[in-house]
């Protein structure tokens, strides 16, 4: 198998620098779907997470437990649920969205929401209580306080966003079920690796794996730079 790893590395370099349309198609689908779903999830999850972190209310403990449970929700089960909802025999079947990028966005959205909610909540809660009092004593209203706390904990929030994005782009079970791994349409890095392995094309599979890891590294490196500059 050692040959295949070397072959894979060479193949990865060749595909990248010859701008192989299939490879770039896969990169485009993967990023479009995962970025959209994570971004949408952040729009919903940040306000909810910071609200839960800021306020005290009845049932907060239960809600926290629920969020923590859903943070580890098995992606393949999420895939199955979305599949059943979007399938022709399911309640949203008439939309015809099964086996499309939209279906993958929906599945990844529901996986990312609890992760971002949970990290945003934890980030807001971990802000020094002194800071909260100081802000209030300066005459800030509730909305200003909320905004200041979010600003103060933005590093953790960005980290939560990254975790959710990392999970989305490396996830395979759910996108395989709802996307169907259709060439040019719903084929992502992970589903393509599964296919290439099944076909015995280990070189191509390893190449895709190497490119996925490299891209993840570059994205993380860039975002870490942004984070450290912000402080």
């Amino acid at each position: 198998m050692a040959n295949e790893i070397i072959e894979g590395i060479l193949e990865a370099l060749r595909l990248m620098f010859t701008f192989d349309p299939e490879l770039w198609g896969i990169i485009e689908v993967s990023f479009r779907v995962s970025l959209t779903s994570t971004f949408l999830a952040a729009l919903l999850a940040l306000p909810i997470g910071s609200y839960i972190g800021l306020r005290e209310f009845r049932g907060k403990k239960t809600l926290t437990n629920l969020i923590n449970t859903f943070m580890g929700f098995p992606p393949v089960v999420m895939g199955l649920i979305i599949f059943l909802l979007l399938s022709n025999t399911g309640p949203f079947g008439s939309l015809g969205l099964l086996y499309s990028a939209s279906a993958m966005i929906v599945a990844q959205f529901f996986l990312a929401v609890p992760i971002i909610t949970g990290t945003a909540k934890a980030a807001i809660e971990s802000v020094d209580p002194m800071l909260k009092e100081t802000i209030l004593s300066l005459g800030a209203n509730e909305r200003q306080l909320w905004w200041e706390l979010i600003k103060d904990s933005k590093k953790s929030i960005i980290a939560g966003f990254l975790v959710a994005f990392g999970q989305a782009i490396s996830e395979v079970g759910a996108v395989m079920i709802v996307g169907g791994n259709i060439r040019w349409v719903t084929r992502t890095f992970t589903t393509s690796i599964v296919l290439q392995t099944r076909m015995g094309e280990f070189g191509m599979a390893i190449a895709l794996g190497i490119i996925l890891i490299s891209i993840a590294f570059i994205v993380n490196y860039g975002l870490t730079r942004i984070q450290s500059r912000g402080s």
Binding site: F39, L43, N88, T89, L95, L97, A103, I182, V185, R198
Partner: protein
């Protein structure tokens, strides 16, 4: 005063507006995806085909479909799954057409839906390939070239039940290959599942994974059933495995016929029946049949055409009426050559 100052000022003055714009952009872009995907779902010239891993992973469809699209403008989205799953998708109407290999389940699909109307219509037998039994070179069950299927299966059974020197790895995933394997045990009137032997392993995996597991058998005594196409793409990697049994002259048990079946538009009115019929017409036309015979991988022919001759190749009960049904759909492809 730095040049950044006015921009910062602008940003902090219009936080709400910027937030609303961001949401609008996100909502707009996602809305566009949903609208595009929704419109594609209504487009009569984009059809979805569910097929087996053996046809897709061999590259056959990536070779055939562009030629079909070139002639008709119809695009095909291919789902590469097992036969069982493909049939389930056909039943639920999530795909427009299926291309599978499990005769008994294909017949059930076109004959029965639990109601008045069948799930699928007009099965066409388009091509076949062969199944092989592969195993380690040490060949503890002593399969010999020229053994007929009864001898092969009996030797494997005895190896598992009496010799304890043979391990058989079953796909166990409801695929066409799995149901073929079960029908082969049925030939000798033995049921490995109820027999209670530890040497019959149900791995619940795809063909590639099952081959890998067989290859890694700890005592070099693993056997499995594989289609020729998948085997050809792996045999270079798995040097200790080889073909130990294949179809012998005069027997068709190890032949593997593929049928294409349009989903019934009466049962599922939304399926794109017209485009599907043109696709079946393409596969069954002399042009499509020639293309199938011409497709090679690893310098070997993987599939052989059999539309119209399936009665002779593997005693398929297809009637002349079923064959003549597709003739009108061949006119589009007359005069094309590969």
């Amino acid at each position: 005063m730095s040049s950044k100052r006015p921009i910062k000022q602008l940003l902090s003055d219009h936080k709400t507006a910027i937030f609303v714009i961001l949401i609008l952009i996100a909502g707009g872009s996602v809305g566009t995806y949903f609208v595009i995907d929704y419109m594609n779902a209504q487009d009569p010239d984009i059809i979805t085909l569910a097929t087996t891993t053996s046809t897709y992973d061999s590259g056959l469809l990536d070779y055939l479909i562009p030629k079909f699209t070139q002639e008709t403008g119809i695009k095909i989205r291919v789902l590469s799954v097992g036969t069982g799953q493909a049939i389930a998708y056909g039943k639920s109407g999530d795909v427009d057409v299926i291309l599978v290999h499990s005769r008994s389940r294909e017949d059930a699909f076109v004959n029965y839906s639990g109601g008045q109307v069948p799930y699928g219509v007009h099965r066409a037998c388009v091509m076949y390939n062969g199944f092989l039994i592969i195993g380690h070179l040490s060949n503890p069950a002593n399969l010999l070239p020229g053994d007929n299927i009864t001898t092969v299966m009996t030797k494997l059974k005895l190896g598992m039940t009496i010799g304890h020197n043979t391990t058989f790895y079953s796909r166990g995933d409801g695929s066409g290959t799995h149901s073929k394997e079960l029908s082969l045990w049925d030939q000798i009137g033995w049921d490995p599942i109820t027999a209670g032997t530890n040497y019959y392993k149900d791995v619940g995996a795809g063909m590639g994974d099952t081959l890998l597991i067989t290859y890694n058998d700890a005592n070099d005594r693993g056997y499995t059933l594989v289609d020729r196409g998948t085997w050809l793409s792996f045999n270079d990697s798995y040097t200790t495995l080889s073909i130990l049994a294949e179809s012998v002259v005069g027997e068709d048990y190890l032949l593997n016929p593929y049928g294409v079946i349009p989903v019934n538009p009466v049962f599922h009115p939304h399926v794109k029946y017209v485009a599907v019929c043109r696709f079946v017409g393409f596969l069954t036309s002399p042009y499509g049949q020639d293309l199938i015979n011409a497709y090679k991988k690893y310098n070997a022919v993987l599939f052989r055409s059999c539309f119209g001759t399936c009665n002779e190749t593997h005693s398929c009960p297809t009637t002349d009426t079923e064959i003549s049904l597709w003739a009108p759909f061949h006119s589009e492809y007359v005069g094309l050559s590969i």
